[in-house]
């Protein structure tokens, strides 16, 4: 067992445990915090995959924006201190059976994979990868058009959000 494998196992266990706690903890703000731990552990996995840029973007976008948005939504729409109501769905046996079936299918598929013990290939240095990513995003042969369409989509979402937020006051402006 190389140290890389041990580290991967530890991080994977943290990710799974945090994910489990997200759905089973009774306090909804605690659930958001466990989600943050989960996202952080995924960022560490990105670092172990030699993709430091994606780890940083994960922290900035997911934890710095999306998780904060979750927490805002929780705090503004519920009295989170005293929320109540049943946590678990009444149909949970069926969901458990489906989950176990999916897990069995995945294990069966992975059991046919031969390369569990091969080490990943060494990639070139990070700067080249970053440079290639930047060039791929703006080069017309690569992902330029999806990039621009995603930007247009974001602008449309922003305009929609502003219009919805204006509400009754000054919607005509």
């Amino acid at each position: 067992m190389t140290p890389d494998m041990i580290l991967f196992l530890v991080i994977a266990l943290v990710t799974l445990a945090a994910g489990f706690m997200v759905v089973t903890t009774p306090n909804i703000v605690h659930a958001a915090l466990w989600l943050i731990l989960n996202l952080f552990a995924v960022a560490v996995l990105y670092v172990m995959l030699n993709a430091g840029f994606f780890a940083m973007v994960q922290v900035v976008v997911y934890i710095g924006a999306i998780a904060i948005l979750f927490i805002f939504a929780i705090m503004l729409t519920r009295h989170a201190m005293r929320d109540s109501g049943p946590r678990f769905n009444t149909d949970w046996p069926m969901a458990a059976i489906l989950g176990v079936a999916l897990l069995a299918a995945l294990i069966w598929i992975l059991s046919r994979w031969q390369s569990f013990m091969t080490l990943p290939p060494m990639l070139t240095s990070d700067t080249d990868i970053l440079r290639q990513l930047g060039q791929a995003l703006v080069s017309p042969n690569a992902f330029f058009i999806p990039f621009e369409i995603a930007s247009v989509l974001l602008v449309a979402a922003m305009i929609g959000a502003i219009y919805v937020a204006w509400g009754k006051s000054g919607g005509k402006k």
């Binding site: 605690h30 710095g64 904060i68 927490i71 805002f72 201190m81």
Partner: protein, 409 residues
């Protein structure tokens, strides 16, 4: 000689050779050295806060025309020690109904988010905590963690004023993160790399000369990110009853206090690394200890600038703050990034000399400063004048004293 001119690398090599000589595995030695480095940086920064607090109090006092603390020690310089003893001995009061785990986690997260920032800033040539090539993005990411800590602090206190203060804090911080990232993009474009070490190494000419407007925008937005005056309505006592840390007492409040001062100093360090050349100076490459001294001098000068601004300007209201951030800073920062990128590419294609490069960037920045002033004046002119709420009446001055009327005629 090597010890005096390059102490950190010398001592690090000595410890590493010692551990390897004891027969430890190289991987373990690397881990131990990393942990030791992180521990030393954290402890050094936390001890530096002791000096920063008393420096700030003396300077604010002088700016306000009074002495600062001058009783404890020579010229009052040991004032922080009784302050620390006082904070250590205060009782921890946990408000009823507070979420205990989050309540205790928030100050730790706030301080560690600030200490994590010191991991990527180069102190001297070849002395840097962690030389990652996405250092600028790392700075933004860790700032996001600090924002989260404040939100958790305000929420877990079971106090509606703390919650409101936390919301305002997060609104201010995320509104000023956008122009801060845009202003941080300018040295990234000029240095062609996102790593802080590469940015410092590429500054043969300090970037403050190439891009003064970006320096100014980073200065303003960094102070708004930290929550220092004039943007400190979140935690000033006369505002929303001290904001998100109202329910914290004793050392937990001490953590927030330390985090704020250290964050201001850290952001000065970031500004110095990005725009003022970091450790660069005459003779810094041959004698790295001089590089560290230059870095500290420059950081303290920028920190003095933040204290100066704090002591001179009145506080900004939350709507003025958000308006300034979104309506003025974001368009100007965005335009600056666009023009800088286009100019850099054009000059790269035309293979311009260094002087031409400096002049072109300087002209772009000064033009945009003029545009900024014009926009500001136009917004001022357009704002409707407030109607006077009441007429001032003189009731106490200028009338001879009239005896009170007798009840019966």
């Amino acid at each position: 000689m090597a010890l005096l001119s390059d102490p950190v690398i010398f001592i690090a090599n000595w410890i590493e050779n010692l551990l390897l000589g004891w027969g430890l595995a190289p991987l373990l030695v690397t881990i131990i050295m990393d942990l030791l480095g992180a521990g030393i940086i954290s402890v050094a920064m936390l001890l530096l806060v002791v000096i920063l607090i008393v420096l700030e109090r003396k300077l604010i006092g002088r700016l306000q025309g009074r002495f600062g603390p001058n009783r404890v020690g020579p010229y009052g310089l040991l004032q922080t020690i009784p302050d620390m003893i006082k904070i250590f001995t205060k009782e921890y009061i946990t408000p009823q109904g507070a979420d205990i785990f989050i309540y205790n986690l928030a100050p730790i997260m706030a301080t560690s988010a600030v200490l994590l920032l010191w991991a990527v800033i180069p102190y001297a040539p070849r002395v840097v905590g962690s030389d990652i090539n996405v250092g600028v993005l790392y700075l933004v990411a860790v700032g996001a963690l600090g924002t989260l800590a404040i939100l958790l602090a305000g929420f877990s206190s079971n106090n509606k004023y703390a919650l409101l203060g936390a919301f305002r804090t997060v609104a201010q911080m995320i509104s000023y993160e956008v122009p801060m990232v845009l202003a941080l993009l300018v040295p990234v474009i000029l240095a062609r790399s996102m790593g802080v070490n590469e940015i410092v190494n590429a500054q043969y000419v300090w970037y403050v000369i190439l891009a003064p407007l970006a320096t100014l925008i980073l200065f303003i937005t960094a102070m708004a990110e930290v929550g220092r005056a004039p943007f400190d309505l979140l935690e000033a006592e006369s505002e929303i009853v001290a904001g998100f840390h109202i329910e914290y007492s004793g050392l937990k409040f001490g953590f927030f206090y330390v985090a704020e001062f250290l964050h201001a100093f850290t952001i000065s360090g970031v500004i110095v690394a990005m725009f003022f050349g970091g450790w660069r100076g005459p003779g810094a490459e041959t004698y790295p200890i001089l590089g560290f001294i230059y870095f500290m001098i420059k950081t303290f000068l920028i920190y003095f600038g933040t204290i100066w601004v704090r002591g001179s300007l009145p506080r900004v209201r939350i709507d003025q703050l958000l308006g300034f951030g979104w309506k003025i800073l974001v368009p100007v920062a965005l335009t600056l990034v666009i023009f800088t990128a286009v100019a850099e590419k054009m000059m790269f294609l035309m293979a311009a000399t260094v002087i031409v490069r400096i002049l072109v960037h300087l002209v772009i920045n000064l033009l945009l400063v003029l545009v900024l002033i014009v926009i500001f004046r136009a917004q001022e002119a357009r704002r409707p004048l407030r109607k006077p709420v009441a007429e001032p009446r003189t009731v106490a001055l200028g009338r001879h004293s009239v005896p009170p009327e007798s009840p019966s005629a």
